[in-house]
Symmetry: C2
Subunit: 243 residues, 2 copies
């Protein structure tokens, strides 16, 4: 089973795909693998919408900030956190289900991510490449309307899927001791972060032919500013009150 370890450690996000479509049975097999992931109290809050309609694909590509591979990849899936389905089941039995608790939001969001990562592993095992599209949260209300999502369902991310037409360099990760701790939290030594910063500079330089050479810390600085300030109000509008 060391093949599996090698598979997991060779993940890279794919943003350039061959034009070939992904056959339906493969997509079904991949989503079944997603369903096999653990689910909190078996709530199964992950709903996957496969977008086949070319017009909707183009619109989603725009909404995600102009990511052309959202329209072009062999297949495109939208992973939704779905508290509408369990709510309906409870209501049918005469019970009440609000779905507005922060805890329920966490449960649903984690359920989706576990399922999606199983799909990613399955896809890569089948020779496909994938790319998560967090950019769907740029305009989540528009995504909801386009896909006719009911209240208590939100698009957590999109997922491009297809036959890779590139082999990007592996992105270096933080040194293991920075993220794996024992018995209590400990800040990493500054030198460990500085070393990784230097490594990321080299990575970006090599990948962009010298055009980009920022460190991990510098990239985070950019990220700290653009944190989709509409999300809280968007979620409340869809029933996720985060009480």
């Amino acid at each position: 089973m060391n093949d599996v370890i090698a598979l997991l450690q060779s993940h890279r996000s794919i943003r350039k795909f061959k034009p070939d479509a992904v056959p339906d049975p493969l997509i079904e097999q991949i989503v079944r693998c997603g369903q096999a992931a653990a689910s909190s109290s078996n709530i199964q809050a992950a709903t996957v919408i496969r977008v086949r309609d070319a017009g909707k694909r183009r619109r989603l590509a725009e909404l995600a900030g102009g990511q052309s591979y959202v329209a072009d990849a062999g297949a495109f899936l939208v992973f939704c956190a779905d508290l509408h389905r369990p709510g309906l089941a409870v209501t049918r039995l005469g019970g009440a289900f609000d779905g507005g608790m922060t805890e329920q939001f966490i449960i649903a969001t984690v359920d989706v991510a576990l399922a999606a990562q199983n799909c990613a592993v399955a896809a890569e095992a089948l020779g496909l490449g994938i790319c998560y599209i967090g950019g769907l949260r740029n305009n989540p209300q528009d995504v909801c309307e386009l896909l006719e999502l009911p209240d208590l369902v939100y698009p957590v991310f999109g997922f491009c899927l297809g036959y890779p037409d590139q082999v990007p360099e592996l992105k270096p990760r933080l040194p293991l001791p920075v993220v794996l701790m024992e018995d209590r939290y400990q800040d990493a030594p500054e030198a460990a972060i500085a070393g990784y910063d230097a490594q990321m500079r080299d990575y970006y330089r090599s990948r962009t032919g010298g055009q980009k050479s920022s460190s991990w810390s510098e990239e985070l600085k950019v990220l700290a500013g653009k944190s989709r300030p509409h999300m809280r109000a968007f979620l409340a509008r869809r029933g996720f009150k985060l009480d």
Copy 2:
């Protein structure tokens, strides 16, 4: 690579483990696989605390609602969503990082779940069994204190890891067409849910020797009531304001 598909589809949560410890190199290999999962803007918000101290293990078992396998499994990991580390990196460069946005909370929580699911797959590929422990969110403030977590770090879930001493029945999942939709959201036919409800009744009956025979919908009714109402205030206290 169909071995991988079979591996993914044979997941069951393991709650009874052989007494053997999990060797350190295996844990390191597993966490490296977690690091290889996609990370939103490469923020790498997943921090893993391996709890080796027996007293802390017993305390965590209590805090999780008396789940003895938290103390007994070959290893126990706590997966934390960590915005403290990126915040520190940004601050060192003279930038400002608040970490209180709902979007940042989603990014960090999803990052952790993707990493953890890769760890789950890696562990199972190596012959180990795992069980997610959402019960750490029963008393998250106590978990923070026990593990000395700084602000902007919260325990998303625990993760038991060890050599399985049981082979539980596979838990049936919702029929694929209920969770995989095309181009737009559609409610499942009531008959599909009713069929699954019947299947889950049989599953629980068979698994408990007739002691439990509730349907999926009935189990959800229970779940709808116990949704950890402290989570919102707990998160705010730790800096996750969910703005």
